[in-house]
Symmetry: C2
Subunit: 155 residues, 2 copies
DNA sequence: ATAAAAACTTATCGAAATAGTAGGGATTAG
DNA sequence: CTAATCCCTACTATTTCGATAAGTTTTTAT
C-alpha cells in the first residue's frame, strides 16, 4: 500500500568506526611499510576476522593497498593528506545523508520543506567537517594531544 | 569475549521523521484546537496506526496533549516557540549522539581521540542547529516558502 | 441511552541490518 | 616447505524497523 522507507542514515556502525580507527592507526604509523592486520586489530581492540571484512571494503575503495603473503599487510594507498574522513565513511557506511535522494516525488509539502530547511542543512554542516578533515589533520591533532599529555607529567 | 557495541545513533528512523512532520503539521495549524490523528495521518501520508505509536511517545514526553472521545484529537502541549527540534528528536530517537557515553573506560587512545576531535565536534554542530530551531521557526520558514511559491504563479 | 469517533494499548510479524564467527583458499617471504 | 598473511564466502544470532491488527476505553453528539 505504502512505500517502505527505511532508516535514513547518518548512523555510525562499527564498520565506520572500526574502519576509521584502523585507517587512522595506519596513518599515525605511516612509513611506506605495510602493517599486518592482526597488529592493527590488537592495537585497536577489534576482531581480526571482522576487520578483514572492513579492509576488504577499504581496499576496493582504493584507500588502502595490500601486500599478500608472509610479512604482508596493509598500507595507505595515498598520503594521509589526500584521504578525507568523508572518503573513509562513504566507503564504509555508504551514502551519508539525512535526505533520501532516491525519493523526490510524492512528498508532502512539509516533507520537502523539512528536507530543504532542516535535513539538508544538517547534512551540509557535517559534510563541511568531514570533507575538510584529512587523516593528516587527525594525525597532527592526535600527536599534539599526546605531547600535551606527557607535559603534564613533567610539571 | 568482547563487548558488543551496537550502532551509535545519529540515524533518523521513520519514528523521528514521521513524528517531526506530524508535530510540525500541528504547529502549522496551531489554533488551540485539537486535531484528530487520522487527519494528520492523511495529510502527512503516514499509517494512522503507526502514527498512534509515535504520538504515544510524544505525549509521554509532554510535547503534545490529547483529548479523548469523539471530536477529540491532539494538540501541542506548549507554544511552538517553546518546542525545539531537539526535544522532538530526543523523544522519538533517544539519545542522538555519535559518541557512546555509556562506555568511557577501556578505550584505545585513537578511540578517545576520535571521540573528542571528530564525533563530539560533529555532535555539537548538529546540536547547535536542533537546539536553536523551534517549531515556530520552522512554521515561519514554511510559510515564507509557500508565499514565495505562489508569487511565481502571478509573475 | 446509544452510537460513533477518537484516543489508547498490546501483540505479532516479516524484512533488513548488525556484528560478528568460522573456516578454508591463495600467495609469498624466508 | 612452511608459516604468515591476505582473501573470500557462508552462516548465524540478535536487534531494529516499520508496520498491521485488533481490541479497549473514553467522550461527544444525537
Amino acid at each position: 500500500m505504502r512505500l517502505i522507507k527505511r532508516v535514513i542514515k547518518l548512523k555510525m556502525s562499527t564498520k565506520g568506526r572500526y574502519g576509521l580507527r584502523a585507517i587512522l592507526d595506519l596513518a599515525i604509523r605511516y612509513t611506506g611499510e605495510q602493517i599486518p592486520l592482526n597488529v592493527i586489530a590488537q592495537r585497536q581492540d577489534v576482531s581480526e576476522n571482522y576487520l578483514e571484512q572492513v579492509f576488504s571494503i577499504l581496499k576496493k575503495s582504493g584507500l588502502v593497498i595490500s601486500v599478500k603473503g608472509s610479512q604482508g599487510g596493509y598500507m595507505l594507498a595515498k598520503r594521509p593528506e589526500q584521504i578525507t574522513i568523508k572518503m573513509v565513511l562513504q566507503a564504509l557506511e555508504g551514502d551519508i545523508s539525512l535526505v533520501d535522494s532516491s525519493n523526490t516525488t510524492d512528498l508532502t509539502d512539509v516533507q520537502s520543506f523539512l528536507n530543504t530547511y532542516l535535513w539538508n542543512r544538517i547534512d551540509s554542516e557535517i559534510n563541511m567537517i568531514i570533507e575538510a578533515t584529512t587523516l593528516e589533520d587527525l594525525v597532527h591533532e592526535y600527536q599534539t594531544m599526546n605531547e600535551s599529555d606527557s607535559i603534564i607529567y613533567y610539571i
